[in-house]
């Protein structure tokens, strides 16, 4: 099974390809064009980001007094803004480095379809996940409630069947786990694993909390649950003799897909969380998924509509300091090319912890370098392939999520699936997590690859299932996400470091999925709401919690 040939095989192949790039680039310049289609290599605004980090920009002429500055317009920052607005709190601004808000949930659009640039779905929440219910109700996704008071989701928002298919042994099959050709031992282990998951679904601590809840802050902190964080998911599986290749493939895929990690670099706590947190009862096979052509850009757009008067984009925050109880925020407006200053009563820092360490010097000093090293996020490549027609294929029909078992990437999502277009041009979004053990070297490689190299890598992967794909492609845009998501490593999910990161520092409150140890929409939202409600409390507003 090539797909699970160990982390190093996969990474090494990719790295080997990327190592050759500068030479290849030179060699190709004067030669014939290798591909018949065009495309761009895009990524977050690195230069502006690094300029912000290096702090070598001019100082502002004045400091605008304001109650609250939210730094960062990802899901956490937008959720904080949404919460403040919801409490009638208006005197704040949200500063976003990029030209559009959304962070890793941003989206794009071309003449064929809207498409996600990264995060592309949320799991349909149960009644228990209160803030998601509120958000989805506002966005018109929930149509009503059933007899058990569980939400009824609009059909067009739920992922359209068929949801997933997998390419293995030369053909497409329905679902993500390949049941065809299982041995009795495979079947036994599959059942054993999910029996264990179901045990955790039913598990309750003394206070009646679930072991794993969404967001994780609603789950149990019981010692039995925390003990899972002391080992890797791989060790946990090994200890139970769960070595079925098929099962291990599924586990590996799950870790790469949700965490940008491998079972050996994932905490067993996070591994089981993936399967157990979403199930409301053992009988439920999986929770339905909500998705849109633009991925989570749908929810971003909704949140943005709620607070767009407060949002300023293209603003790089360069330094945050505290003086006389005021938080001074220095920033650079990349469009107007001028320095900005804010004197805020409170700041909600909704950027990554790495960024916090760079722009808040006092925090960096107080926590120390090692603290921030704990928050290295892993890298991803996300690519949008615009197809003028669909490749010919047989067997199980095209699904929303299409996974190639023996591929190096995570497969592709068909962005026209939700807009019901089953014929003609489409856009596919291809995902690849750089899940190597050494995150830093993955970063370096990511920045050394060219568009051509990425395209070669992507096509090699997709050709396994679609030999004639190339002639269908009209464009490939490749998005490099160097800081895509925090990795839920063993000994990290219940660490003091993580707990400390959530505590406000001077008058700065923190909100980011980093603070949960894994990057899920609900986690970012939870921290945004928490930080906003901490601030509301500081301003002595009366409010009922949204969490």
């Amino acid at each position: 099974m090539n797909g699970t040939g160990g982390p190093d095989v996969k990474r090494r192949t990719f790295l080997a390809a990327s190592a050759a790039i500068p030479l290849v680039d030179l060699a190709c310049k004067s030669q014939k064009v290798e591909f018949t289609f065009d495309g761009d290599l895009i990524g977050p605004s690195v230069d502006l980001g690094h300029a912000a980090r290096d702090g070598d920009l001019p100082a502002p002429s004045s400091f605008e007094p304001i109650d609250v500055v939210i730094v960062g317009g990802g899901i956490a920052g937008l959720s904080a803004a949404w919460r403040l607005k919801g409490a009638g709190f208006e005197d704040f601004t949200l500063l976003e480095l990029e030209s559009g808000v959304g962070g890793t949930a941003r989206s794009g659009r071309n003449g064929v379809s809207a498409y996600p640039l990264a995060a592309h779905y949320v799991v349909a929440p149960t009644r228990e996940t209160v803030p998601m219910i509120r958000l989805l109700e506002e966005a018109g996704v929930i149509e009503g409630y059933d007899a058990k008071d569980e939400p009824i989701f609009g059909e067009e928002h739920l992922v359209r069947s068929p949801e997933e298919r997998i390419f293995a042994v030369g053909q497409w099959w329905e679902g993500l786990y390949l049941h065809a050709g299982e041995s009795p031992e495979d079947i036994r282990q599959y059942k054993a694993f999910f029996d264990e998951v179901d045990r955790w679904v039913l598990w309750r601590d003394a206070k009646g909390h679930r072991a794993f809840a969404v967001p994780r802050s609603k789950g149990s902190d019981d010692a039995e649950v925390r003990a899972l964080d002391t080992m890797s998911f791989k060790d946990w599986l090994d200890a139970r003799g769960l070595d079925s290749k098929r099962l291990r493939w599924l586990m590996d895929y799950a870790c790469r897909d949700d965490y940008g990690a491998r079972p050996e670099t994932t905490s067993a706590w996070a591994g089981i969380y993936y399967f157990a947190a979403r199930k409301s009862h053992p009988k439920e096979e999986t929770r339905p998924v909500l998705t849109w052509p633009e991925g989570n850009g749908f929810l971003v757009n909704h949140l943005y509509e709620r607070c767009k008067e407060q949002v300023r984009t293209g603003i790089a925050v360069t330094r945050i300091t505290t003086e006389n109880g005021k938080v001074k925020v220095l920033a650079w407006d990349a469009v107007q090319r001028c320095a900005l200053g804010f004197a805020a009563k409170r700041v909600i820092f909704a950027g990554s912890m790495i960024m916090a360490g760079r722009v808040i010097p006092e925090l960096a000093r107080a926590r120390g370098r090692a603290f921030f090293q704990e928050f290295l996020p892993s890298s991803w490549i996300v690519s949008n392939l615009t197809l003028r027609e669909r490749p010919k294929e047989h067997f199980f029909s095209m699904a929303w999520d299409n996974v190639i078992r023996d591929g190096k990437g995570l497969g592709y999502v068909v962005d026209t699936h939700q807009s019901l277009r089953d014929h003609g041009p489409t856009v596919w979004t291809f995902y690849h997590a750089l899940a190597g053990a050494d995150i830093r070297s993955d970063w370096e490689r990511l920045y050394s690859v060219s568009w051509r190299d990425c395209v070669r890598f992507i096509l090699d992967d997709l050709r396994i299932a679609h030999p004639d794909l190339e002639s269908c492609i009209s464009r490939i845009d490749v998005m490099r996400w160097a800081h895509a998501m925090i990795r839920p490593r063993p000994h990290f999910m219940w660490s003091d470091v993580l707990e400390k990161a959530r505590v406000p520092f001077q008058n700065i409150h923190f909100a980011h999925s980093d603070l949960s140890g894994f990057a899920l929409f609900e986690e970012a939202q939870d921290h945004g709401l928490r930080a906003a409600e901490e601030v509301l409390q500081e301003f002595r507003k009366t409010f009922a919690t949204w969490r």
Partner: protein, 514 residues
């Protein structure tokens, strides 16, 4: 005198008479095969096989007589003429089936082409035996010549008549059979340039011509393979007269037993023998509920047959037909066979044809006047892409395009063969906020077929329909709404975009019958 002639030629130019007798056998078989091909093809395409075989045989035999008569005008170079003749038979006979199929599918002149080709082959075949006998008359005594040539002629005919139904038709089909026997004729021609070399003189030109004819025929066989696969021909019980892949589906038209059939991806869409039952039942009950309907939407139905029924209602002012496949609507307007059946309905000025995915189209249509009636005539839900057209989401979108008291009539597969699927669609229509009234009738080429009549407003079972329909009457309409026990309602889940239960139910139920 006979003896002298024989002695003369034997001594000077000995011919391989026995080998030439083999040619007689082959050309006799070829001649009969062309006759059988023409007769079978005419029966398939026009029906009434007794009439078709009688006329084809009659015309063919008389044309042979004419050919025999004309043979007396050929005086010189008999051997060269014979080779040319074989090549002519090879071309006309070999390409007869493909030409006739094309003429049937693309022109109005099938009968003239049929009899024209039958006469041409008959005349050419009629020339063969007299010429060959004259070539051989110096080699063999006359009484032996007559005896041997005619014997082989009749035996060749017997061989062909046995091979044709037992081997050729089942294995090769009409097109490849006619092309293959064309090649045999051409081979006889080429072979004769060797056997009759002494009488022919320079052979290069003749051999080149033979080779060219063989190449043409071989190309025809390759083309035929591309047109239809032999395997596909086994699926269809009748002859394939048209087959083409559109970007959306494989379209096959077959013809046989006096009717023709349209298949999309191997699934029967209609048979001309009983489609009137289906389309009358699909269209007129909706008009019975809303008799003064002016604006009608048709989803699917690119064959134009539902529109034919809709246009029988004089108050209709506008029909919008949304069908995915431009090739289907093009066939419906251009192919004589189909245009005759639908009465040129899609060319009517009141009708607007839109080629789009109906679901995407109705989802995007906004701010335009609603329809009084919607006729929903999609293929059966055998893929997810079609299954989406039977979901609550589709019916909710459809409701937005209907007047508050508008009516939709929906084809819902067979309540007998696929009972759960049928009631699943019924339940889905109701779940989308319609009042649904299921009904059914027998369409022999399908089975018992089911429909749902649906309106956002309450309505009664319709009682009156147009006079002068072929099947439907006031009495028969009432009976359609009564379900016998073996087709009666069963509890089933609602079909939604996110579960697509119908596709699974449908596959399960229909697989039992195949």
């Amino acid at each position: 005198m006979d003896d002298l002639e024989v002695l003369d030629t034997r001594s000077s130019q000995p011919l391989k008479a026995s080998l030439l007798f083999i040619s007689v056998f082959i050309i006799a078989a070829c001649g009969l095969v062309y006759e059988l091909v023409a007769g079978t093809l005419a029966s398939y395409l026009l029906g009434d096989s007794v009439m078709q075989f009688s006329t084809v045989i009659g015309v063919y035999l008389s044309a042979m007589g004419l050919g025999s008569y004309l043979s007396k005008h050929i005086h010189k170079g008999l051997a060269r003429r014979f080779v040319d003749l074989e090549l002519a038979v090879a071309l006309v006979g070999g390409f007869s089936a493909p030409i006739l199929f094309l003429s049937f599918a693309r022109t109005h002149a099938f009968r003239p082409s049929l009899y024209g080709i039958v006469v041409a082959i008959g005349v050419l075949v009629g020339l063969e035996i007299p010429l060959l006998m004259r070539i051989l008359r110096h080699q063999v005594r006359f009484k032996d010549l007559i005896a041997q040539v005619l014997t082989l002629d009749y035996i060749g005919a017997l061989a062909a008549s046995l091979l044709f139904p037992l081997l050729l038709m089942p294995k090769l089909g009409l097109v490849r059979t006619s092309l293959a026997f064309g090649m045999l004729n051409a081979i006889v021609g080429l072979w004769s340039t060797y056997l009759l070399q002494s009488q022919i003189g320079p052979t290069f030109g003749l051999r080149l011509r033979s080779a060219v004819v063989l190449v043409f025929l071989a190309a025809g066989v390759i083309g035929a393979n591309r047109f239809t696969l032999a395997a596909e021909e086994e699926i269809f019980t009748d002859e394939i007269v048209y087959a083409k892949d559109s970007p959306y589906q494989r379209i096959v038209l077959t013809r046989g037993r006096g009717s023709f059939q349209l298949f999309l991806n191997g699934n029967l869409q209609f048979s001309s023998a009983d489609e009137y039952r289906y389309h009358e039942a699909l269209v007129h009950p909706a008009f019975a509920v809303k008799p003064h309907a002016q604006r009608v939407l048709v989803c699917g139905g690119g064959d134009g047959l539902a529109v034919r029924e809709i246009l029988k209602h004089p108050e209709v002012k506008e029909v919008v037909l949304v069908d995915l496949d431009p090739l289907v609507t093009e066939l419906a307007t251009k192919m004589p066979l189909l245009r005759e059946l639908n009465g040129g309905s899609l060319l009517d000025p009141r009708v607007k044809v839109i080629n789009a995915d109906a679901m995407v189209w109705i989802a995007e249509r906004k701010g335009e006047p609603p329809f009084d009636i919607a006729i929903v005539d999609f293929p059966d839900p055998n893929t997810y892409a079609v299954g989406k057209l039977f979901t609550t989401r589709f019916y909710k979108l459809l409701k937005r395009q209907l007047a508050p008291d508008g009516v939709a009539s929906i084809q819902c597969t067979s309540p007998l063969m696929a009972r759960k699927s049928f009631w699943c669609i019924d339940a889905t229509v109701e779940a989308a906020g319609f009042q649904a009234r299921p009904y059914h009738l027998a369409v022999p080429s399908f089975s018992v077929w089911g429909f749902v009549l649906a309106s956002p407003a309450p309505f009664d079972i319709p009682r009156h329909t147009l006079p002068n329909l072929r099947h439907l009457s006031d009495e028969s309409m009432a009976s359609m709404f009564v379900f016998p026990k073996d087709m009666d309602r069963v509890p089933v889940e609602v079909n939604r975009l996110d579960n697509q239960v119908l596709v699974h139910l449908y596959a399960e139920e229909w697989n039992r019958w195949s």
